[in-house]
Symmetry: C2
Subunit: 245 residues, 2 copies
DNA sequence: TATTCGAGTGTATGACATACACATCGCTGA
DNA sequence: TCAGCGATGTGTATGTCATACACTCGAATA
C-alpha cells in the first residue's frame, strides 16, 4: 500500500506539471457551442472556424466532430444558444400591441448583443427549440385579437423579419461603433447619386433622409426599427378592427 | 508568293482544328459577370467559384482578376447585373399604393428569376447603380403623399426588406419545386411542437396556419408576400392620412 | 526598330471543412 | 480480476477555395 503513495504522487506531479493538457473535464456539446459563441461575439462570424473553436477549448479540430455533425450544425446550435428566451417576455402585457412591442424590444436586444446572428448562413425556416419559443410568444400576444391562426403567423413573421433586416443593416453599417458609418453612407450617396438619373433619391439625400436627424446624440446613433414597426403595427391594427375584433 | 498559301492554309487548319481555345474575342468585365450569373442561375451561389467561372469562359482562374478586384466585387457586380430596372416600372401608376404594389411585383419577379440574390453574402447598404435605381423608383411612387423624405426612405426600406425576407424564406423552403417543402415544414412543426411548452404555436400548427389553404392549386403553392405587404401599406396609409395628406 | 504595357498564365500558399483510421480509457459482464 | 467493447479524442490526408506574385507574349507606341 505504501508504494502506491509515491506512484500516485508522481502521477499527481506529472499531471500538475503538464501544461494543463486541457481542462480535464470533458468536451461537451455545450462547451463547443459556448466557445463558438464567444468567438463570434468577440471577433465576428468569420472568426468561427472549427480549428479555432477547438483551439480555444484546448482540443484538436477533429474532436469537435464527436459532438457536432458538421459546421452547419454548429452554427445552428450557436443560434439556438443565443436565442434563449429572456425572462422579461413572461411579464404580463397590456394588449397585443404592447405585447408585440415588448417582444420586439427583447429580440432587438438579443440581436444587438450578438450582431453576427443576422449573418448566419442558415438556410431554412426556424426550427430550433428556442426559435420556436420566440414564435410561440409572438403568437401568444395575438391571442385576443380574433385573427385567424394563419394571419397571426403572418404577422409574427412580418414583425420578426423587419427586426432582422434592420439589425442586419445596422450591423453592416458598423453601428456598433459611434454611428459614423451611417453618416459615411449618406455622404457616399450624396456623391454618387446623379440628380438627373435618380431625381427622387437625390431629393431624399439632399433632405438628409439618410442621415440622423440633426442633434441626435451620439449614443442614440444607431439604426432604429421603430419607424417600420409602427407602420406594421398600424397595419395589423387595421386588420384586427376590420375583422371585427 | 505561292509558298505562302500552304503556310496560311496550314495555319487555318490548325486554328480550325484546335478545340476552340476560347472565343477569341476578349475577356471583359461583362462576360465575367455574365458567366457568374449563369452559373448561379443554374446551380446556385455555391457553384460560383473563381475557378468555375473562368472555366466556363475558357480562361484560367487568375485571368478573372484582371477584370475584378476580388470575388466579393464579382458578387456585387452579379447583383447589379441582375437588378437592372425592368421596363414596366416606367408605366404610369395610379397613386402611391398602386405604384408600390407594381414596384413589388417587379422586384418579386426579379427575386424569383434569380433566387440566389437573397443569399449573397453582401454586407453593407445598397450602393450599386441599379440598386439605387430601384430605390429611386420606390421613392418616386411616394411623391404625392406629403410624407417627409425620411419617412419615404423608411417606407422604401420597409417594403424592400419585406420582399427580400419572404423571397429568402421561399428560396430556403425550396419553393422552386412544387411547394412540397412547405408542407414538409408544417409536418415537421406538427411533430416537434410540444403543446405544453408552446401552446400558441401548437394551436397555430393545428389550425394549419403553416400550411397552404386547402385546395390551393399546385402552381400557386409558393410563399406569398402579399399578406405582409397589405399590412405594411395599410400602416403607411395611416401615416399618410395622419400627416394630413 | 526598340520598348513598354496590358492581358492572360502558372505556380504556390495558406485557410478551410471534413473523411478515415487509429489510440486510449473507462465500464460491463464473465 | 480480466477481456473486450464502446465512446471519446487524435493525426494525417484530401480536396476546394481565394488569392499573391512573378512570368510570358503580343500589340501598340515612341
Amino acid at each position: 500500500m505504501k508504494e502506491e503513495l509515491p506512484a500516485g504522487l508522481a502521477e499527481l506531479w506529472a499531471r500538475l506539471g503538464a501544461p494543463e493538457p486541457a481542462p480535464r473535464n470533458r468536451l461537451t456539446l455545450s462547451r463547443v457551442t459556448g466557445a463558438a459563441v464567444e468567438l463570434a461575439d468577440a471577433d465576428g462570424l468569420d472568426a468561427v472556424s472549427m480549428a479555432r473553436v477547438a483551439e480555444r477549448l484546448g482540443y484538436t479540430t477533429m474532436s469537435l466532430y464527436r459532438h457536432v455533425k458538421s459546421k452547419n450544425e454548429l452554427l445552428l446550435l450557436m443560434l439556438d444558444r443565443v436565442a434563449a428566451l429572456p425572462p422579461e417576455l413572461d411579464e404580463p402585457f397590456d394588449g397585443w400591441r404592447d405585447g408585440l412591442e415588448r417582444w420586439c424590444r427583447a429580440q432587438w436586444e438579443m440581436l444587438h448583443a450578438h450582431p453576427w446572428v443576422v449573418h448566419l448562413p442558415i438556410t431554412g425556416p426556424p426550427i430550433t427549440p428556442n426559435q420556436l419559443a420566440w414564435t410561440d410568444r409572438a403568437l401568444r400576444t395575438l391571442r385576443g385579437t380574433g385573427l385567424s391562426e394563419a394571419d397571426k403567423a403572418g404577422v409574427a413573421l412580418l414583425v420578426a423579419s423587419h427586426l432582422h433586416t434592420v439589425a442586419r443593416l445596422g450591423a453592416d453599417l458598423g453601428s456598433a461603433a459611434s454611428g459614423e458609418s451611417i453618416a459615411a453612407y449618406s455622404d457616399l450617396l450624396g456623391r454618387l447619386v446623379d440628380g438627373a438619373r435618380f431625381p427622387a433619391l437625390r431629393a431624399a439625400v439632399d433632405a438628409g433622409a439618410y442621415d440622423y436627424p440633426a442633434g441626435t446624440p451620439a449614443e442614440e446613433r444607431r439604426l432604429d426599427y421603430r419607424f417600420g414597426l409602427a407602420r406594421i403595427l398600424d397595419g395589423v391594427a387595421a386588420l384586427i378592427s376590420s375583422a371585427g375584433g
